[in-house]
Subunit: 137 residues, 6 copies
Amino acid sequence: MIYITRRERFNAAHRLFRSDYTDEKNLEVFGKCSNPNWHGHNYELFVTVRGEINKETGFLVNLKTLSMLIKSRVIVKLDHKNINLEVDFMKDKLASTENLAVGIWNELDESVRELGAELHCVKVVESENNYVEYNGK
Amino acid sequence: MIYITRRERFNAAHRLFRSDYTDEKNLEVFGKCSNPNWHGHNYELFVTVRGEINKETGFLVNLKTLSMLIKSRVIVKLDHKNINLEVDFMKDKLASTENLAVGIWNELDESVRELGAELHCVKVVESENNYVEYNGK
Amino acid sequence: MIYITRRERFNAAHRLFRSDYTDEKNLEVFGKCSNPNWHGHNYELFVTVRGEINKETGFLVNLKTLSMLIKSRVIVKLDHKNINLEVDFMKDKLASTENLAVGIWNELDESVRELGAELHCVKVVESENNYVEYNGK
Amino acid sequence: MIYITRRERFNAAHRLFRSDYTDEKNLEVFGKCSNPNWHGHNYELFVTVRGEINKETGFLVNLKTLSMLIKSRVIVKLDHKNINLEVDFMKDKLASTENLAVGIWNELDESVRELGAELHCVKVVESENNYVEYNGK
Amino acid sequence: MIYITRRERFNAAHRLFRSDYTDEKNLEVFGKCSNPNWHGHNYELFVTVRGEINKETGFLVNLKTLSMLIKSRVIVKLDHKNINLEVDFMKDKLASTENLAVGIWNELDESVRELGAELHCVKVVESENNYVEYNGK
Amino acid sequence: MIYITRRERFNAAHRLFRSDYTDEKNLEVFGKCSNPNWHGHNYELFVTVRGEINKETGFLVNLKTLSMLIKSRVIVKLDHKNINLEVDFMKDKLASTENLAVGIWNELDESVRELGAELHCVKVVESENNYVEYNGK
């Protein structure tokens, strides 16, 4: 069993808030992240998959294929987008890094299996001081 | 003459576009950065000042004072904000990193002089692949 | 189950030595880290907590609360301090990174539980080449 | 149980290819990594060992000893070398990062045990976007 | 006058040696960098251009255009290549980082001018400990 | 004219204070950096030299020679030391990063000339947020 990790990046706008809260309540709970005019981040996404090394290629998976999978299923939906308004898998969810990590896991889980590997961890880095990890359980 | 640099950070949303362009024209000129729903970045700001070492303290300037100056005059206006909509010194300007660097220079120039130093360079890092530097000339 | 990590930083002096060793013996066992006049580091501390996502907020824990907890219970005791002489939870312990990680774990374990999460990992980075991780078992 | 990690670095040339493939087939499977004239990387190697803290020293293992072990058993064989042509433990293997991680594990496993610790993880970083982890199972 | 910098990356093999030296002499002068079987690096290339901000776009140059220029004139020639054997602008030159920086400058100088800017600096980072800068004079 | 930069690192303890100040005055002027029990940093030192490329070697200077020069004249005096108590070229000076940069410049200036190059810049990075540059004028 070996683990391989691919990093991809995306820039996006978001806002943390609940429409059933007042602006004051949103500010109290979510702080400056609730700014109604949005703010944004350079997100880093680390996708770790696990499995056996293919004897023919020496690869667990072809990293180019893995990269294209992540780009086509996740990055294209998030990069230079507004997470609250434009991302199908985040619809009706709070745009927190936690929910983002779970959402990205669900976008990737099955397609990684089709590559002959298993999704092991989705890590979303929101800033140099904060990151979230999810491993599907 | 010695140079000292302080890094501060801010997260913000922005959009590159001209209101006198159609959406198609904006997309053509500014690419995905023109997304009407905004996107955002983790910006890093490096402020370099120059001057003589104060013999009494061994400092060019007290870094805590410099940090507080940058925070009060620049970061508080930009952090978790929308650069197009909420930043006074960017009003009526394209929210490019170039204009941001010039705008930040103008916010800091005089107050750095009051600290007994001269502003030497404002560097704005928009992503790990792009940054802009301005030195007032 | 989701994992969220907060990074905080502190600068501190320390020395690796045993008072029951001679200086020669200390030098032999601890190398230049035994310098009687101290040396120091920029330490990075990564605190990972785990738990369920709160449906109301989309958060595992509020990162601002977690950050303030780490600062009030750990950083304030270590930052710009001498680990051997001034840190209560390191009293009578060798000031190694290993003992530091265990000591920080003990400072945080209960208070993280009061936030509704569980402490998962304390990672102390002493230099770009060395780090220690502890997960309480 | 505590975990300590030491980073070492090496620069090496390699090529991904099978001698039983044509150049066209190698290009199809391995992409530009199959270039017959080689290419190379600045590899980072993170070796994590685990065990109990030695009460006498406060150390899990002496990092200087661990560093010298990694250098003498691994780095000296890889640094400024051609992985395909010159590295004994990679002989007759595809020079993939996956195989490199497994090969390095096998070089270190027993000698780490002689230090009184257990090898926990070998992580090989090939670029800022790719890394492989192996933990012996 | 404003300065904008774009980072691009390439992986390449090289060897430092003179064909009119013996292997022993090459080893003496160039150290392990003279290994006849090659070694390699993850190079980072920082290209800084300078000029006036275009009032219509807020840009000095469109970074996408600059990136494509660097890729088409430099990266495509260097990435996953052997610098000694395959790079036209390094033909008959020692494959040092110094010569590489000058070579890249010459590849870019004129085409940057066609973008309406001036090439200001070419910085080639060979490892985390070494880099070379050239500004054409 | 080309510029080459070598990074070296050192860990040291220091304290910012004047013996002719009271503890209260030191605290007021130097903040927590005046802690009488010391604190410390992982310093990074970037030494940039300039000159012509040697046609015989393709080098400005041999980086191994430059590295050994920096280590023997600067790093050995600073690494794992107390800057206030143990560093000859900092004797009777405030242990600020500014004075450190000037002190290191003076240690290196002549010996770099003996290598056939000119010292261009000494950059001392004290933390990820602060650094000082000095170029001898």
